[in-house]
Each structure stands twice: as structure tokens, then as C-alpha cells.
């Protein structure tokens, strides 16, 4: 026998945002007519304190056990109203929101039709909320250790920060040595500090820190578990398996440079003195900039955006190359005072502190800037004839002058773009991270939550999320650390309850759900021959439920009954003829 349903419906004006296009009073009156609706009201700002108090009072006085709020997007205020229900002693899941602002008032121009649509949406919510069930939030304990994958500047910065706070860190580095890309560069921009000094002191601190266990030449083979309680298998030197237990994961795997040979017009690997930017770094580190034959180049041409900002390769900007190229100009001007230095660029992007200043000061050091168009002005490289008085010629349509020009070159430096590692997808699968389409990991929210991911307890920092410079990587690393230390401090975390549940009797063991789950939350119980949902990992996306051929998986808070009732409610409104 079901309890008596007593629904309260609240229509928000949102000041004028909703009320100017939707006849809120009419919507309210329509709702009043529905069965089980005890009370229906409108208010100027439902989310305000008086608005919420209105709901609380009604819940208490009218003995409401279901609440519908028709206002803005649930992304904005669903959690607000759930808390309102909680404070009135009602389970927060006995609530449904109808979006009549973004979906109605902001996008329609006929008041009559907008009102009708609002009625339909709110009615759908009313029909749905009748079938809502109380759900209880759960918490899990957090293991205070952290696994950091990647020992570049981001991983090291995060490791030191956590370790200094007195917590255990396991740092897994795939390479022989830590340091990542920063260890490959001579000077950093914009202040031309030594990258080596910067990274090596950090590496030493990391190695000697009593709270950090460093596993070099190691790879994570398997990760299981969930926030607060992860387990991993790590293979060191390709064999010896190490098992680790930890509560949070920081993915700091960085990026790699694109293969310059792919950008065919620059003849990398075919013409002798075409180098990548990292090969030039190596020359600076060794202390001698020279051509392959050891000769001193007279004309050095630095070509930007090699494989970046071009739909044939990568559409995105690799972020650090412009400033690195300017840094090269400065270094070359000092190393080869008599050389001619050319910057062949597409757009000069001098974002970041002191970067515009670097551009201005570099421009004053006898550097020629030549601009090309990514669509139809790509520079072409060819071997020069003997009478040309140089080794190679770069021919291009110069954008700012409209002239077709040739640039004499004895050394060409390609500012190679950055891309995600080939293994990014595999590691993403292990850690439950998604890629954004460019082999870079997706953060939870591009603006509001740039370090967390859709898998709780897993954070992305540094260049594995997108190409970044050193300060940005470190900022992100430290932001992730703050989040992790906060959860460690609390000792437990709340986990989502709107998860999938397997009806063990109906499950036939086909494992379709295991394959489709994007969060690796479903495993197969070999003994019982049924699927098992890890409710901590499950995000309640519903993919499994919709794929299950037997209807054996039910998504809490998104049951078939709830969704079908909502649809019925929506469809029962007819436009008056």
C-alpha cells in the first residue's frame, strides 16, 4: 500500500526572467488542478531565503512529501532545493525540478506558447516526483596515501606538497629519470632562468623526502577501487610487481612533441639542417649551436606552429611554442651575434605574465618577424642553389605585406606542437578518465573545476590535460593537492547514490553492461555469473540500464517508471485548437 502523495508545486518568477514570458500564475493554477497536488504557489525568487522558507513552512504545515520547483536549470539550483527539503526533514530525493527559464522563457518569444510549454514541463515533473523514492547518501573512508603518475614538474610539485603535509606519496615515473620535459630544456621563458637548476633541486628533494616513494622506470599496470580506496599494480623495470594502496590519484603524465616529419612541407629528416625545437634545446644544453657539419649557421629560421593550429594536424594551440621561440631568438642572438634570426609565425601569442614584455624586448634584438597564413600561406622549404648563398630557402606568402618572399636559411628550427601520449587512452581507461578528442584528459568542468575529473578521487594536472607552461602546471598541481588534502583531512567522502542496481535474478550474465560502462564500475562475478556494480565508481549515467537486454539493471532515481510517468505528464497537455 503506497503512502498518500502530497505534492507542493512552486513556480519561480526569477524576477522578470521567467515572469515576463511565462504566465506563472496560470501555470500555478493549472497545477492546482492536478491530483495529489496539495498546494501550488508562485514567488519572485524561489532560491532566496524567503522563497526557501515558504517551501519549508508548507512541508511542515501541509505535510508535503513531494516537492516540485519550476525555475532555472537544475545545474544551478537543484542542490539548493534538495538542501531545503533536508532542512524540513524530508528526504532530498523526493524533489524534482522543471527548467522553465533556459528551456522556456529565455528561448521563446510567444507568451502564450511559452506558458503552455511551462505547464507541460511542470506537469511532467509532478507526474515523475510521485514515483521518487527516498535515497540515502553514503560515505567512504579515505586512505591518506596518494598515487602520482608522472614525475615531471607537475607530478614532482604535487608530490612535494603532499609529502610536506605529512602524507604518503607514491610517485611512478615511466622514464629512467624524473624531470619530464623541463629536464630537456636549457632556459625557461620569460625570464631565461635555468630549467636545469629549477628541476634538479626539485628532483633531489623528491628523492630524499621520507614521505615519497619514487618508482622510476615503472609503469602502472592496473588500478582498481574507488575514491579513498584505490589499489594499483606497478611494474618496475618491466617485471617485479609492486602493490600499492592509496586514496587519491594524480595523473601528471604530460605530453609529447609531434613527429615533425608528419608536416611534410618542412622536410624534416630529408634536409640536413632542419631541427626540432627540442633538438635545439639539446644544442644549448651541450653549449654549441651548430649545423650537422659543425659549421656556424648564418641564417637561422624559426618556424612556429609546426603541427599546431592547423586542421591537418592539431587544431589547438600548443601554448608554449611562441614564447619558447622568442627565447631561442634571445639565446641565438647571444650565441651567434652575427647571425640573422627570422621568426616565421602565424600569430604571436604572448599570453602570461611578462610574456608580452619578452616579445617586445626580443623584437628589439635584430630579429625579423614574418607572418604566414595557416590556410593558404604555409612556408615551403627547399634546398638552395649554389648561387643562393645559403643552404636552404623558405618560400612563403607573407601575410602582412601580401608579398611572396623567400628567406635564406642555414638552419631551420621547427617549433613542434604538443600532443598527448599514445598511452593516454590506456591510462585513461585504467583511471576512468576520458579524452577530449585530442589525447588530452577532460577535466570535470572547464571553468569551475579544472583539476578534478568525472571519476572521484582522480585528478589531472599539468600538460596531460592540455599543453601548459611551467607556472600553470605547478598551479594546477597545487590546486589538486589542496583538494586531496581536504578529503584526507575530512577522512571520508560522500558518494553518489543515484547509481545502477543489478537485479541478480534477472541478470543472465551476458556482460553487455560491463563492456559499455564508461566508468569501469561494473565487474563480472565469475562465481554467481552475474554483473556487479561498484556503487562508488558508478555515476548513474544509465548506459548499462538502457543496454541490458533483460531489463535487469535499474538506475536509482532514473527508473523506467519515473521516466515514463514524466513523459506521460509532458504529453498530456494539448495545445488548444
Amino acid at each position: 500500500m503506497r503512502e498518500e502523495i502530497r505534492i507542493g508545486v512552486y513556480i519561480c518568477w526569477c524576477g522578470n526572467n521567467i515572469a515576463k514570458m511565462v504566465d506563472v500564475e496560470a501555470v500555478s493554477k493549472e497545477m492546482q488542478k492536478l491530483p495529489d497536488v496539495v498546494i501550488s504557489r508562485t514567488y519572485k525568487y524561489m532560491c532566496s531565503d524567503p522563497g526557501q522558507d515558504l517551501i519549508i513552512t508548507d512541508i511542515k504545515e501541509q505535510r508535503l512529501n513531494r516537492v516540485v520547483v519550476a525555475a532555472c536549470s537544475p545545474r544551478i539550483h537543484e542542490s539548493t532545493f534538495r538542501k531545503t527539503l533536508s532542512s524540513a526533514g524530508l528526504n532530498p530525493y523526493l524533489f524534482q525540478m522543471a527548467n522553465i527559464r533556459e528551456q522556456v522563457s529565455w528561448v521563446h518569444s510567444s507568451r502564450e506558447e511559452a506558458t503552455l510549454k511551462a505547464v507541460s514541463l511542470v506537469q511532467g515533473a509532478v507526474e515523475r516526483v510521485k514515483w521518487h523514492e527516498p535515497l540515502e547518501k553514503r560515505t567512504v573512508e579515505v586512505n591518506p596515501a596518494t598515487l602520482i603518475i608522472g614525475g615531471g614538474i607537475s607530478g614532482i610539485s604535487a608530490a612535494l606538497e603532499i609529502a610536506d603535509a605529512g602524507k604518503q606519496v607514491y610517485l611512478v615515473e615511466k622514464q629512467e629519470n624524473m624531470g619530464g620535459k623541463v629536464a630537456c630544456i636549457d632556459l625557461t621563458y620569460p625570464h631565461l632562468y635555468s630549467g636545469q637548476q629549477l628541476i634538479h633541486s626539485k628532483i633531489d628533494q623528491t628523492r630524499s623526502h621520507s614521505n615519497i616513494d619514487v618508482f622510476q622506470n615503472s609503469e602502472v599496470k592496473k588500478i582498481s577501487g574507488y575514491i579513498g580506496n584505490f589499489e594499483a599494480e606497478v611494474a618496475r623495470n618491466g617485471q617485479e610487481d609492486i602493490e600499492l594502496i592509496f586514496g587519491n590519484i594524480i595523473v601528471a603524465t604530460g605530453l609529447k612533441t609531434i613527429d615533425a616529419a608528419k608536416v611534410e612541407n618542412y622536410q624534416y629528416g630529408k634536409l640536413t639542417d632542419v631541427f626540432t625545437s627540442f633538438e635545439l634545446e639539446e644544442m644549448f644544453l651541450k653549449g654549441k649551436v651548430a649545423k650537422k657539419d659543425g659549421g656556424i649557421p648564418k641564417n637561422v629560421v624559426i618556424i612556429h606552429c609546426v603541427g599546431s593550429r592547423n586542421t591537418n594536424y592539431h587544431e589547438y594551440c600548443s601554448r608554449t611554442c611562441c614564447m619558447t621561440a622568442l627565447k631561442y631568438a634571445n639565446q641565438l642572438r647571444s650565441a651567434l651575434p652575427d647571425s640573422n634570426i627570422y621568426q616565421v609565425y602565424s600569430d604571436m601569442r604572448a599570453i602570461g605574465k611578462a610574456c608580452e614584455e619578452l616579445y617586445t624586448s626580443t623584437a628589439g634584438r635584430d630579429v625579423m618577424f614574418l607572418s604566414f597564413d595557416q590556410q593558404d600561406g604555409m612556408p615551403q622549404l627547399r634546398k638552395a642553389d649554389p648561387e643562393d648563398d645559403c643552404e636552404m630557402l623558405v618560400e612563403m606568402d607573407e601575410k602582412l605585406s601580401g608579398e611572396t618572399i623567400e628567406i635564406p636559411a642555414d638552419m631551420v628550427v621547427l617549433m613542434v606542437g604538443m600532443e598527448g601520449h599514445d598511452e593516454a587512452r590506456e591510462l585513461g581507461r585504467m583511471t576512468g578518465l576520458s579524452l577530449c578528442g585530442n589525447e588530452f584528459y577532460i577535466e570535470k568542468h572547464p571553468k569551475l573545476d579544472p583539476v578534478a575529473t568525472t571519476t572521484d578521487g582522480v585528478y589531472v594536472v599539468g600538460s596531460c590535460q592540455s599543453p601548459k607552461d611551467i607556472p600553470d602546471s605547478i598551479s594546477q598541481a597545487k590546486a589538486a593537492v589542496a583538494r586531496i588534502l581536504a578529503t584526507i583531512n575530512v577522512g571520508s567522502v560522500e558518494v553518489e547514490v543515484t547509481t545502477a542496481v543489478v537485479n541478480e535474478e534477472a541478470c543472465c550474465g551476458c556482460q553487455t553492461c560491463v563492456k559499455v560502462c564508461p566508468y569501469t564500475a561494473i565487474s563480472f562475478d565469475e562465481e554467481k555469473k552475474i554483473s556487479v556494480v561498484n556503487e562508488i565508481l558508478c555515476k548513474g549515467c544509465g548506459t548499462c540500464g538502457s543496454t541490458c537486454p533483460n531489463g535487469a539493471i535499474r538506475s536509482r532515481h532514473f527508473t523506467d517508471k519515473q521516466i515514463l510517468s514524466q513523459i506521460e505528464g509532458l504529453m498530456s497537455i494539448h495545445k488548444p485548437e
Partner: protein, 384 residues
Amino acid sequence: MATRVDPELKKDLKKFGIEEWNECYHCGVCTAMCTHTDKDVTFPRKTIRFLQMGLKDRLISNVDPWLCYYCGSCSDQCPRNANPGERMMVLRRYLTTVYDWTGLSKKFYTSKTWEFFFLMFIAVMVATAFLIFLPLSGEVFTNPELFINAQGGVKLNHLIDGVAPDQFVRIIEIFDWSMAAVVAGLLISNIVRMFYFVVLRDKTIKVPFYAYFTELWHLVWHFATQARFSKCEDRNYWLGHWLLMSGYTIMFIMIVVALPQFQIEEIKEWYHWQRLLGYYATFGILFFLIYVTIKRINREDVKSKYTHSSDWLFIIMLGLTVLTGILTHVFRIYGWPATTYVMYLLHLIVLIPMILVEVPFSKWSHLAYRPFAVYFDQLKQYKV
């Protein structure tokens, strides 16, 4: 055909006054400001770009620097302080040396020493030749009244020992004409070179024969009026410059073409046309000269801020010429024969080197290059 960029060009241009050239990032504010911007909206930005890229050929075939009158609006408004106005000025100096086949222009612009010694050399030559061949009559000191005319002024053409007055005027006249011929010859040969660089060598144009004549009026019109200059925002400069130019032209006609009517023994009434024209010319030149000198000293507007040594030299030489000319005239009227002779000689000592250096090789050559640039620019409209 691709044009080769040349970073070395910058080193050449440094001597003409360019320190840095990368400030400009081609936002186009200069183009938006300039009243001379035409349909393709590249003036003056495109020239600045050629400069940055070291496209020497493009710069040489480009007349845009001559079509700019340096009002300074572009430089005032430039968000990068790239100073396009001054760049155009520097390029005019550079182009003058490019057109000049003797190489003297480049020497004068890039070496103050060279210019100074050349001026001194001519000055000494003039003084020596004059003192040897046209010495002052000794009677000036024994019988000064012989040299005073009915009006109480000096009989200028009687001052030379052993040379009859007619003969003296004739000698000066012949000298004037020969000097005009030399200067014009140099200037014309340079204009021919300019024509070659700007029009003949440009493969993107094909000028029909008749156009050389139909477009010729631009040359005459712009020479006489500087109409293009008058389109600049600040018209004071145009007016002042026109005063100077007209004064100079009148003076030129009087001392070359009409010397026998101008350098006469009798002193006419002040309102006689010959004296009035002389006064107008002197006023015109002096007025603008003082105006720009004050501006250049105060350095208040962009145009007057960056004075090259060649600009100062021009102002000083022209100022001294006018000053000695006025003094010669004053001493003559007051009837001081010896002082008049000395001042007349000083006048020539300044005037002749100035004309020989400035007109064919230096700043003054713009009197020809500017109107020809307008003419050539019209010819360049005949695209292939």
C-alpha cells in the same frame, strides 16, 4: 617570383635615422588616421612592412615616402610608438641616396664630416676665385664717393677692380646659368634613375605612351601648388611651406633669369616691383624658416621631434644665405661700399655650396622628387 628578405638593409638604414623597426605590429591605425590613405588602404603601413622585411627592391620602386608630408598624425596615434611618420622621413633620405648615381648623396647623409668638408671646399673655392678674379677696387678706400649712386646707395657693379659694371653682371649671370645647368643636370639624371626604379622596372604596370602626356599635368600642378600637402590635417605647414617655396622660386628667377634687371646700380623706390618681389621672397623664406626652427627647437610636435643633422644643416645654410642677402641689401642702401662687397662675397660663399649640396644631393632635392612621385604614382595606376 619570390623576393628575398634582407636583414642587412636595416644596417644601411641606421645611418639615416632608423634605430629600431619591429615595434609596428600592423594594426593599421596609421592608415586609418592618414588623410592620404587611398582605396587599397595600405598607406603608409605597407611601406613600413617593406622596411621591416628588408625588401629593398620594393622600397626602391615605391613612391609612397614622397607622398607623405609628415603631419605626424600616424605617429601621434600609433599604439606601439612605431613612429611611421618618421620612418617615411628616413626613407626619403634613403631614397634620395638611391636615386643619386654619384654616391655623393649617400656620403653626405651618412657622414657629417664628408658633408662639412665638401661645403668648406666649395666655400673656399668660391672665396678664392672671387678674390683673385673679381677683387675689390682699391679706390673704395681712397675715393669712396665714386661708388655712391644718386640715391646715396652703393653702386654694386662698380666695386670690382678692372671689371666694367656690365661685364660684372654678365660674369655673375654666366656663372648662375652654368651652376643651374650643373645642378639641373644632376637632378634630372637622378630623376631618370627614379623613373627607372619606380616605373620602368615595375613589371606589374604597362603605361600607354599617351599617358605620359595626359598625366603630366599632375607634375606641374603639384609642383606649383603642393595640393597633396594641403590635404594634410594641419594646413599651416602647407601654407608656410608654400610661402617658402614661392619665395624661393621668385628669388631663383630674379637671380638667374632676370639678373640684369635685378642687380642694377640704381636703387629703386621701395614700392618698385623689383624691390617688392625681393621683399616678398625674403619674407616668404624667412617666415617659414623661423617657424620650423622654433618648432624644431621646442620639439613639441612629432614632426619636429627628430631633427637629423641634415635638417639642421639645411636650416643653418638657408638662414645664413638669407641673412647675408639682407645685410648686403642694407649696407648697399646705407652706402657702405667695402662692407657691401664683403657681405656680397659672404652671401655667395654660403649660397653656392648650399645649392650644390642641397639641391641635387640632399634635402632640397625633394622639390623635384615630390611632384615627380605624384606623376609616377599616376603612371603606376596603369596595371598590366
